[in-house]
Structures are given as C-alpha cells and as structure tokens.
C-alpha cells in the first residue's frame, strides 16, 4: 500500500512510456530519451520553484514573465552593451530575485493573495520586457554563452546537468534542512507554525525569491538554447509548471508533496508532446489531446493520492502525522 502510494506517479510515467513505445519504435531510442530530458529541463527548473511555492499554499503565476524579463535584460547586457558573460547572468538572477522579493513581500507582509500579486507581477514584468525590447528579438550569442544551452558536460548536455543539479539541491533542502520542513509546516498550518516559533513570513518570502531566481535561471538556459531572446517567451510556463506540480502529486492546498514528483510531472508533459510529434498527430488535434491527457493524469494522481493517504492514515500511521 505504501509502495503504491509513493510510486503511483512513477507508475503513471512507466505506463505512458510503455504505451508510446508500442506505438512508435523511435520513442525509446537513446537519442530521443536525451532529447526529451533536454526539452523537459527548463520546465523542470521552473516546476521546482513552483513546487516549493505551492507547498506553502501559494502560487507563482509570474514565473514565465520573470523568465522573459530576466532573459531580455541579460540579452541586452550581453549583446547590445557587450558586457562579459558573468555580469549578464548575475544581472538576470538578480532580476529574478527582485521579482521574487516583491511577490513574497506582498504575500507575506502586505497580505495580498498570491494569485493576485503574482498575476499582476506577470503583466508588470512582461510589460517591462516589451518596453525594453519593443517587440524586437535579440539574436545570436557567443559560443561561450551558448554552451549553457547547447554544450555538454561529461557527455550529458548542459540543460540536463543544470536541471538535475537544481533538483538535487532542492531535494536536499526539502529533506535535510530546517527551511525544508518549515516550508511544509507553513503550508499545512501557518498559524500553528507561527506559534511554534517559525518565522512564517520570512519562509514565504524566501520561497518566492527562490522561485524567482529559478525562473531567471530557466530564462538563461532558454535563451542559450534558442540563441535568441524575445519578450513573449515562456507564456505557457506558469500553467505548464502548475500542471507538472499537480501531476507530480503536490496538491494546490499545500503542506504536502515535493520536488521529486514534479520531475516526473515535467517529464510526463514533455513526453506527451514528443510522442505527438513522433506519431505525426494532426496539428488541429494536438492541443486537445495534451489537455485531455493532463486532466486524466491529474485526476488519477489526486484520486489515488487521497485513497492511499486515507488507507495509509488508518493502517500504518495512527499518529495522524503528515504523510
């Protein structure tokens, strides 16, 4: 029972892969698997940030726009101003950090609902990106910068390396640091955790800052991979990231779930798109199929989760501790 609960999303992923490998012989080839991992990398980086925000009971709708703004600023600094690479990257990360700080402060200290402030932040940052680039596209970066998106380290391509590193760091934070358990405590019951001495507001602010920084990091990988930066990139990211988090078993109510599941969620979404291209499914049908499959995945995931956690609660863990 416990095995099933903890691995229900892995089973979903395996079932999906098995099904597609029967339909297309190209799916399980080494090159295609690397291709899928590379395509899932950016969604995973943003998904990790979204996960910790959602665990605290919040949401970050601004991540795609923050990605766009930070990559546009980095592109201007690198290409138009001709500054060295580290400055562009640090500036992008600072922008992400700043947007996250504003989001977090507004949520924690000014008590604006996260949905509202991050929605507003989405327009604010995207608007700034338009203002800076005026609908133009900056194209063609140096090979050193493009290494981040297209190079490889020890035979593994860079986006995968970065995405894996981010995942491992956040798995560590989630499991072994006080901050990690504070995130869950705030999401489960903010008042109780405040009374038990957790500085809840500071936890919430830090969570949004991390999400902002990860969005900016995603933006850097994105533009290095695409060899271009434009203000409209990443529009679909907030909802794709939320879908990845939900498929990964972190409910919107917060307090449970984790970064590990989101990796699987990001892979599931990327695999569906990859399979539709490999199978040559009609352009008109693709969006519909993606939506339908996400609905099915999320309902299977959340239903099995509830079922298993009830059984778990009664059979295994009678203290009623958080599963």
């Amino acid at each position: 029972m416990k095995f099933l609960k903890h691995h229900s999303r892995t089973l979903i992923l395996l079932a999906l892969c098995t099904l597609i490998s029967f339909l297309s012989p190209h799916f399980l080839q080494k090159d295609n698997i690397i291709n899928i991992l590379r395509q899932a990398a950016i969604l995973n980086i943003l998904g990790v940030g979204m996960t910790i925000v959602i665990i605290t009971g919040g949401i970050d709708l601004s991540n795609g726009a923050v990605l766009a703004l930070s990559s546009c600023i980095a592109a201007i600094l690198l290409k138009d101003a001709g500054l060295p690479m580290p400055i562009g990257i640090i500036a992008a990360l600072m922008i992400g950090c700043g947007c996250g700080l504003i989001n977090g402060t507004m949520v924690a200290r000014v008590a604006i609902p996260p949905f509202i402030i991050t929605y507003a932040m989405m327009f604010f940052t995207r608007g700034l990106a338009f203002l800076f680039l005026r609908g133009k596209i900056i194209y063609g970066f140096t090979p050193e910068f493009r290494f981040i998106g297209t190079g490889s380290l020890g035979g593994v391509s860079m986006p995968i390396v970065i995405s894996a590193a981010v995942t491992i760091i956040f798995l560590f934070i989630q499991k072994y640091t006080p901050f990690g358990s504070e995130i869950y405590a705030v999401g489960a019951d903010e008042e109780a955790s405040m009374l038990s001495g957790i500085r809840t507001k500071s936890v919430v602010i830090r969570v949004y800052i991390l999400s902002g920084i990860l969005s900016a990091l995603g933006g850097i990988v994105y533009m290095a991979r695409l060899n271009a930066s434009e203000p409209v990139i990443g529009e679909a990211f907030p909802l794709d990231a939320i879908a990845a988090v939900l498929i990964g078993g972190t409910p919107l109510s917060g307090g449970e779930g984790g970064v590990g599941g989101t990796v699987i969620g990001a892979l599931v979404i990327t695999i569906i798109i990859n399979a539709m291209n490999l199978l040559g499914i009609s352009s008109l049908l693709q969006t519909f199929i993606l939506g339908a499959l996400i609905i099915i995945m999320i309902s299977v995931q959340s239903h099995s989760g509830r079922l298993f956690s009830w059984a778990h609660f009664f059979l295994v863990n009678r203290n009623g501790a958080r599963p």
Binding site: S24, H26, Q29, D31, N32, N35, R38, Q39, L101, I102, T105, M106, R109, V110, F123, F124, R126, G127, L128, F130, L131, R134, G135, K136, I137, Y139, G140, T150, Y222, R225, L226, N227, A228, E230, P231, V232, I233, I273, N274, N277, L278, G280, S283, L284, Q286, T287
Partner: protein, 316 residues
C-alpha cells in the same frame, strides 16, 4: 522607526509608478489639429514583422500629415483585445480604423460597429469575412508560399524528403501559405512529405518540433516553414543535431534574423511580404477613401523570394 515592510511596500509602489509613467510617457498620444485621426491595430508584438508594419503605417501618417495611433494586443493574436481597441477608437470618433484581423471571422462585429458609426475600415495583410471593408492590402500568401516552396524544391533537385512546419491551426495566413506549399509540391513527383506539423508560428516551438522530428526521420532534405520564426527554431535544432549541412530550410516574412541567417548560409530562402508597404498602403488607401477617391477592393503588393544571391540589398 518605520516598519521594514512598510518601507519595502513604499519602494515597490514607487518602482511600479515609475514603470507606469515610463510606459505612458513613451506611448503614443494624440496631438491636436491634424486633418484625420486613425488607429492602426496589428496582430501582436511578438514578431518583428508587426514592428515593420507599424513603422510603415507611422511613416505614411507622417508623410500625409495625419495622426496615427498604433496598437497591439498584449496577448499575441488576441481578437478580443483587437475588438476592444476598435470600440475605443469608435468612442474616440476616429476617421478610419486599419486593423489586421487576428481572426477573420471574430473581427466582424467590430467592423460592423465601425460601419454603423461611419468609420472607414481597412484590413491590411489579413482579410475579414464580413462587414464593409474599404480595401485590403497585402501579398497573396498562397502565391509567395508557392514561389518559396518551388525555389526550395528546385534547390534539392526536385526529389527527396520534405517536412512542413505549419502555422497556428485555423489561422488564415497559415492555411494560405500551406496551400501554396502543397501546390508547389504537387508539381514534383519525386518529393515525399514526411510530416506536416504545427509549430504555432513560434521559434521555440519550431525548435521543439524539429528536435522531435529529427529523432524519427534520419533523412530530411528540405524543411518548409510557414514563417521565419519557426524556420530559425528548426535551424537551431538541426544545427545542434549536426544535420544542418544536409538539410535546407526555408522561411517566410524576411525578418532581420532570417536575412542574417541567409547571409550566414544557414537558411536557404525566405519571402519578403514587405509588411511596411502593407501598413503604408493601408493608411494611404484609407486617406484616399476619406478624400472621396475611388479605391480598389484589393491592393496587391509584389513579394520577391530572397536567397543568398539578393540578400545583401535587403539587409540593412
């Protein structure tokens, strides 16, 4: 001592207000005492194509001495926002509205409202399927598509494997361009179309779709894309897979990145629809109409195929 959160909130507020002021200060405003007032609505700002059209429209406004306000939806290709711009224009009592419909049917209610208010409507680039429109300006998407595809197919010797990257499903330009590609392909018996998939007119989608298709098809001779953005994305994917030397890619629209890519020998060809001319002629036609001159229903503009041999004179 002021609490820290209040100071942060204050700073944020200042930051946002400054952003707003900056936005409005640089945005278009109506100056007084010009002969005619017009608004010019494009489909989005996500493609340099629309920026060129905007520049053409503004140049026409300057040349003719009329006020032009150019507008674009925040959400790309969003017809609802375009309708809102039209309604705003009607209440401001403009003389003419030039609108590039993001949706040929969806824009009709706006055109009908403008007709009722006696405002001249011109649709550059894309057609509307209703209402009373003074004129349409643009290139025949089908014909330019046919020319580009034929050029690409001839370059690969009239035989081989082809992939088509389609535009956004349901979009009129996407349908017309694809029709031109199909007509050209039908003339060559040795051509096999491996796949025809949408990449939604976007560069990142073009890269993603091509990365996936490269896995399935080991031999691709030509990729025909419905616009430059998708073609440039496909080029990045092919380049990363080390296959750009074997596969030719054609685009559509002749934006700056595509021209640069052609001069670097990466992209094979593109077609220049001259969006600036479409915008310019749209405004000129509206002006002529307001002056009581007869205006043709369709104004066709020539659109040459650009490849390495003539790219230099288009590159600025």
């Amino acid at each position: 001592m002021i609490p820290r959160y209040k100071m942060v909130a204050f700073l944020v507020a200042v930051f946002m207000i400054m952003g707003l002021i900056l936005t409005f200060a640089t945005g278009p405003t109506f100056a007084a005492e010009k002969k005619y007032k017009m608004i010019f609505i494009v489909k989005s700002l996500d493609n340099p194509f629309w920026d060129r059209m905007r520049a053409g429209a503004e140049k026409a406004g300057e040349d003719l001495g009329i006020e032009i306000k150019t507008l674009a939806p925040i959400k790309p290709y969003n017809v609802e926002e375009q309708l809102r711009f039209m309604e705003d224009g009607i209440t401001q009592n403009v003389d003419a509205i030039c609108v590039v419909p993001a949706d040929s049917k969806g824009i009709v209610p706006g055109i009908e409202k403008a007709n009722k208010a006696g405002i001249v409507v011109v649709t550059p680039n894309s057609r509307a399927y209703g209402g009373s429109v003074a004129t349409w300006t643009g290139a025949q998407n089908r014909d330019v598509g046919y020319d580009i595809a034929k050029f690409g197919l001839k370059t690969i010797g009239g035989k081989g494997n082809v992939i088509i990257l389609e535009g956004t499903p349901g979009n009129q330009t996407a349908i017309d361009r694809k029709k031109g590609f199909d007509d050209a392909i039908a003339e060559f018996s040795g051509i096999k179309v491996l796949a025809s998939q949408t990449a939604k007119y976007s560069r990142v989608e073009g890269m993603r779709v091509m990365e996936n298709l490269v896995q399935r098809f080991p031999d691709v001779d030509l990729v025909i894309a419905c616009n430059d953005e998708m073609a440039l994305g496909a080029i990045e994917a092919l380049d990363a897979a080390g296959r750009l030397s074997k596969t030719k890619v054609t685009g559509f629209d002749a934006n700056n990145d595509a021209l640069k890519s052609i001069s670097e020998g990466k992209m094979l060809a593109t077609g220049d629809q001259r969006p600036d001319a479409q915008g310019y002629w749209g405004v000129v036609a509206a002006y002529a109409y307001l002056e009581g001159m007869p205006v043709p229903k369709d104004i066709f503009l020539p659109a040459p195929v650009i490849d390495k041999s003539n790219v230099a004179k288009h590159l600025n």
